[in-house]
């Protein structure tokens, strides 16, 4: 009895001890988790930021624009083939559609860069006028097509046309809208308009690559009169291109089509509903942001870095597992919920990235983010 009691007492003591250790461990790890990571002075890591800038330009931005240029060329060639041989249309139409997909893929990959050459002459809006709440693309395209006047397609005249019809959403209508595709194959002027837009798009692709050769030097020759005043200004511009697009994707590409609740969804608010590739756009966006993020692997603290890497991977897996196309699944409760879940993941990812940047002592914006 006595021995048993002693054993029991020892066991209890051991348990208490173990519990204590566990409790202590828990508190320690909690304290570790809750501890505010100290903010780093970015000037003390200026060399790392400098190489982040140069790597990002050379290995991320420029190759992406080169790929966009290549794909706009291929799209233009494919459209020309289709328009010259419209009788053999089924095969050529599907080739042109494929070329459109590749171009849209490459645009989605670099859509996050909203500074430098893309901002000049409204090229960003020209390449993709979206969202188009007031159907500018439809209205302006219809009025151009109704002129049936090839002189309106001269370089000078087309330059004056609405920015909404100069890029991918207009091309998408020609290639994926059944009525418009019929017209395209039977009405030569429709094909001429499509060709004009494809040439214009190819021109933008070319100019972006060309001008980035010059823009690139702005990341190495930093000066008070240059595009960036300091290395950190350049880093901030690149970090904005990493963090801010996630909010845009959430707000415009997911939450806006979803509406306030199930039943209020509006499929036609999805980014590329005609070609049923709206989810693929988001996949391209996130893959691209992940690629950009990888340039920060050596800068962001280890624990944060692991969390962010995991979140990127999990989000991409989540996209993989979603029912496709979302243009159809958005109309179902399960599909609707999947889109909502993706939006939640992006919210978490955005928060993680935002914190990581703050912890590196970089301000993405003060007045721009919380003004009054």
């Amino acid at each position: 009895m006595h021995t048993t009691q002693l054993t029991q007492a020892k066991t209890i003591l051991k348990l208490v001890h173990l519990f204590g250790v566990l409790l202590l461990t828990t508190f320690t790890s909690l304290a570790f988790c809750l501890e505010e990571p100290s903010v780093v002075d970015p000037e003390s890591h200026i060399k790392e930021w400098q190489s982040f800038n140069i790597n990002t330009v050379n290995s991320y931005i420029i190759p992406a624009y080169e790929s966009l240029e290549k794909n706009t060329q291929a799209l233009n060639a494919s459209v020309n083939k289709l328009c010259l041989n419209s009788k053999e249309s089924p095969e050529l139409l599907s080739q042109a559609r494929e070329a459109f997909h590749k171009t849209m893929d490459s645009w989605q990959i670099i859509q996050n860069i909203q500074f430098g050459p893309i901002q000049i002459l409204m090229r960003n809006y020209s390449l993709q006028f979206w969202p188009d709440k007031k159907n500018h693309v439809g209205k302006h395209l219809t009025s151009l097509l109704e002129t049936n006047d090839p002189t309106s397609l001269s370089e000078g005249e087309f330059h004056k046309a609405s920015v909404s019809i100069k890029g991918l959403p207009a091309i998408e209508r020609f290639l994926f809208d059944d009525d418009e595709t019929q017209q395209l194959l039977s009405n030569p002027f429709h094909c001429q308009v499509l060709q004009r837009i494809s040439i214009y798009t190819q021109g933008i692709g070319h100019d972006l690559v060309d001008e980035w050769q010059e823009m690139k030097t702005q990341f190495t020759d930093i000066s008070a009169d240059g595009y960036f005043e300091t290395q950190l200004d350049a880093s901030t511009a690149l970090l904005k291109a990493l963090v801010e697009p996630i909010e845009v994707i959430r707000d415009l590409k997911l939450l806006r089509p979803l509406g306030s609740e199930f039943g209020q969804q509006k499929m036609k608010r999805l980014e590329s509903w005609r070609s049923q590739r709206s989810l693929r756009n988001i996949q391209m966006n996130i893959e691209s942001l992940y690629l950009l993020y990888k340039n920060l692997n050596d800068i962001v603290g280890a624990a944060e870095n692991t969390l962010i890497n995991e979140k990127f991977k999990q989000t991409l897996k989540q996209i993989d597992a979603m029912k496709k196309p979302i243009e159809l699944s958005i109309e179902t409760k399960i599909g609707y919920q999947e889109i909502l879940n993706l939006s939640d993941s992006l919210k978490t990812l955005h928060g993680l990235l935002e914190n990581a940047v703050i912890n590196q002592g970089i301000h993405l914006g003060f007045n721009s983010r919380d003004g009054d």
Binding site: M122, K133, E214, H363, G365, F366, N367, S368, D372
Partner: protein
């Protein structure tokens, strides 16, 4: 091509001015900018500047700067402040807390030391803006009567410990910036139109029904003299920040609460007795403003005004007389604008930088930087 994006902090002329030819255009603008509307010149030759600021650890301060933008004093504040008003008669500053603001701090403009800290009357909060009467005797603040959500203007006696003397309606919801009209008898109030309640923080509670207004109120009687609203389809444009020149023309910087993707005018002008005149920047600039303007300021002559767009990282410059866009200058996170000598402007940003600009040398010139601070919404000269 190079000039377009490489030298983005330099000034390029808008369509209406480029026809003059760039050199002549600059001269023309420089002359126009310096043409005095009135002989009176409120900016001293050697001005100083004041702004609220926040540091990396999220502490808030009032910072006074010398004419070169160097810090001369720093005073800790209990929460984020918004705009600061200068009383040249008594050399004091009034610092109103950002909405829903709980303090009004009076500071010695020379030493930067605290004189007194005031609280709003029970059941009210500040909106971050105040203005002294032209003789410096009274301080007016825009406030929210929390229970009713109605905007109120409070008058405090600057010569008697800032005791509240009276209050009158702002004739709208969410009064924000207030200015004294050059007739010295009228208060100009930007009623933002947005209903908020301290219990729901900064949440906007009436976006569908908001109806912002520009109100001209008699200081003597507290009665409404003139009220202007925006066209019905633009009722979600919050009339937030205003400035008034010596001719009594009000420039308005707007913030749009509707769909993010809408393209709406974000700047306006008002002349007494007329409708509000909406101004458009060229589309490629207008879209860049991201439906948000942070502050507005006339230059000394009142012939030109500047509007900041922190979300668009740019400042737009406007010709008052012709009510048209002149140009825009790129500057990251820019928000505060103050008059400067030479009929130019000083701009402040969230990256702790101050820039100067005048039409004689049309380029943004870095004046000072303090990487530990983010300069908050407004910059004022003292």
């Amino acid at each position: 091509m190079r000039k377009n994006y490489i030298s983005r902090r330099s000034f390029s002329l808008g369509l209406g001015y480029s026809v003059i030819g760039s050199t002549l255009g600059y001269t023309h603008l420089s002359t126009m900018a310096s043409t005095q509307v009135e002989a009176s010149n409120k900016v001293k030759q050697v001005a100083r500047y004041v702004s609220a600021a926040t540091d990396l650890a999220n502490n808030h301060f009032l910072i006074i700067l010398d004419s070169e933008g160097k810090q001369t004093s720093k005073l800790g504040l209990p929460a984020r402040a918004h705009q600061i008003t200068f009383n040249p008669q008594s050399n004091t500053l009034a610092v109103a807390a950002r909405r829903p603001g709980k303090y009004l701090t009076i500071v010695d403009a020379i030493s930067g030391k605290l004189i007194r800290q005031l609280e709003p009357e029970i059941g009210h909060h500040f909106y971050g803006h105040s203005v002294y009467s032209s003789d410096g005797r009274f301080l007016y603040t825009s406030e929210n009567q929390i229970v009713s959500g109605a905007g109120r203007i409070f008058e405090r006696d600057a010569s008697a410990h800032y005791e509240v003397l009276r209050s009158f309606p702002s004739y709208g919801i969410g009064p924000h910036e207030i200015k004294i009209h050059p007739d010295n008898t009228t208060l100009v109030v930007a009623n933002g139109g947005i209903l908020t309640h301290p219990e729901s923080g900064r949440d906007k509670l009436n976006l569908d029904t908001m109806s912002p207004s520009l109100a001209y109120i008699s200081i003597d009687t507290g009665k409404l003299l003139e009220e202007r609203k925006l066209p019905t389809d633009l009722h979600q444009l919050s009339i937030r920040h205003i400035d008034i020149n010596s001719n009594g023309i009000t420039a308005i910087a707007l913030q749009y609460q509707g769909d993010k993707t809408d393209n709406v005018p974000l700047i306006a002008l008002h002349r007494r007795g007329k409708e509000i005149q909406m101004l458009w920047a060229p589309e490629y600039v207008n879209r860049r403003l991201k439906n948000y303007c942070g502050s507005v300021c006339f230059n000394q002559s009142g012939n030109i005004f500047a509007v900041s767009s922190p979300r668009g990282n740019t400042v737009t410059l406007w010709d008052t007389k012709n009510a048209e866009f002149i140009s825009n200058l790129d500057c990251s996170d820019v928000c505060g604008i103050s008059q400067s000598t030479n009929n130019g402007f000083i701009f402040s940003n969230g990256l702790g930088k101050l820039y100067q600009f005048n039409f004689k040398q049309p380029v943004l010139k870095l004046m000072s930087q303090n990487s530990t601070f983010a300069w908050d919404n407004h910059l004022n000269h003292i």
